[in-house]
Symmetry: none
Subunit: 287 residues, 2 copies
Amino acid sequence: MAETENNIAIPQDFDSLKTIILERKAQLPKRLRQVAAYALDNPDEIAFGTAASIATSADVQPSTLVRFAQHFGFEGFSSLQQIFRARLRERTPGYDERLKALSGNDHSKLESGSIFNGFVAAAHRSLDNIASSVEPEAFERAVNILAGAETIYLVAKRRSYPISGYMAYAFGKLKVKYQMVGTAAGIDDDILAMAGPQDAAFAVSFSPYASESVNQAKLLANRKVPVVSLTDSAFSPLAESSKVWFELVEADHAGFRSLSASMAFAMALTVAIAEKRRRVSEDHLIE
Amino acid sequence: MAETENNIAIPQDFDSLKTIILERKAQLPKRLRQVAAYALDNPDEIAFGTAASIATSADVQPSTLVRFAQHFGFEGFSSLQQIFRARLRERTPGYDERLKALSGNDHSKLESGSIFNGFVAAAHRSLDNIASSVEPEAFERAVNILAGAETIYLVAKRRSYPISGYMAYAFGKLKVKYQMVGTAAGIDDDILAMAGPQDAAFAVSFSPYASESVNQAKLLANRKVPVVSLTDSAFSPLAESSKVWFELVEADHAGFRSLSASMAFAMALTVAIAEKRRRVSEDHLIE
DNA sequence: GCAAGAATAGAACATACATTCCAGATTTGT
DNA sequence: ACAAATCTGGAATGTATGTTCTATTCTTGC
């Protein structure tokens, strides 16, 4: 009898099922892998279809579906199907739908609620936008520059400051040497004077551009420190001082621009830098 | 033969079906009205259940379900069920597709690109999550507390610090009096000593909880300062000191938790507070 | 209060369904 | 290259399911 993986718990929710399928997908036999791919691509079909109809459109035999389910510890196809159905059932209504539900009774509730809603939506839009506007090659170049630096100088003011604040925190955790520029007033020039070509800088500035940040980036560039920057326009004064720069237009709600995409970008950059360093030092050991 | 209402078009989507059911509900025979009520209250059950199981939980005979469907022009129960299923299908939040589009682009070719991808996806997930976990009522209460405060104290350390950093920036722009707690070491206690019941505090802390933040929140609560907090677990030590607290679990990529949802939340809260103050002062002028 | 008509419950039916089974094909290990 | 094990396709099977049918109960109009 085929092993039903008794030792491993049967997934009870869609997310863990998905994870397990992805984990084991590679080692699955041909037809079962075919089912795995189909299932993850067409979860709705699995939820609503019959074994026969699903089998047809996945181009396998119904029995294969049963075997697939049993491979993951389910009794049969039907019990696996329950997971796919539960996914649709349990999908929580989402904020705006609940907001609609309580409409009428209190106007102020609606107002605060729609503000919340608006910011979440703006954040989503921003993320969609960044996903399509950041060039992988540019990102890779930025990572290379910063990963190769001795010290990473972080330049950001005002609205951008939380971004560099997060990066400082994460760099600290990841043991990446960094230096924030512009925390205490007055000593910035002294700090910048220590930077050299062996270092690198990451500058963030959105319009209206803080002149301080722009000047500091310029200064760094003059000192042959490679600068990577994140800004919101190709005409940003930051761009001309930068080896690599990213144009990131955050969506806004009621005039307040989101920071979610910048934050995601910063996190990705931070971790990618640390990851690259780790890999480089490993490669070095092997050689 | 019973009339099948040939003259009226058979509803093809859930909304029109719902409308028609509501219209005719009053003139329906007893058992059919019972089914109508059940169907509108438990659409998910209709979508996934079998005629027998639905009949049992609606306390009617399976045949009644068939007759119900036929009354509205459907051939049988199954065709009516399709409408309920289509409803769940269509509600699919175009979001899966966006993620697919993400993994489809050439980002994933490069390692750094996949890190980038991962963080964008995590941010999306976080936002979805926050949208379904924040209760509009709780949000409104939080806004009221903070909008009514004389000074808003911002408590956050480490990973949460960028959140309060952004709020400080925005409050400054919006002319809302605030005070950050925990920037310069040592003077925290002096700052907190000034807080009173006429003020309020907003604390952010995720596990592992910074003991400093927890203590400060406790201190504020003892001084009768209402505390609103953002944390990631119902068991967070922050929760007990808080009048209102929000549980926000950020999705993570490679163990690094996103901040995008927290950021969106903070922005929404900030703006909602300012908006409420503006409206209150306007109302005051009118009176 | 009685008859005519509609509505309902529950059993009977036909079929659509998931599952099992087995022979043949394919992969894996030696 | 051979044997063993695994995987796969397709038909067989028995159950679960939607639907139909009919006797009975409940409304409705006079």
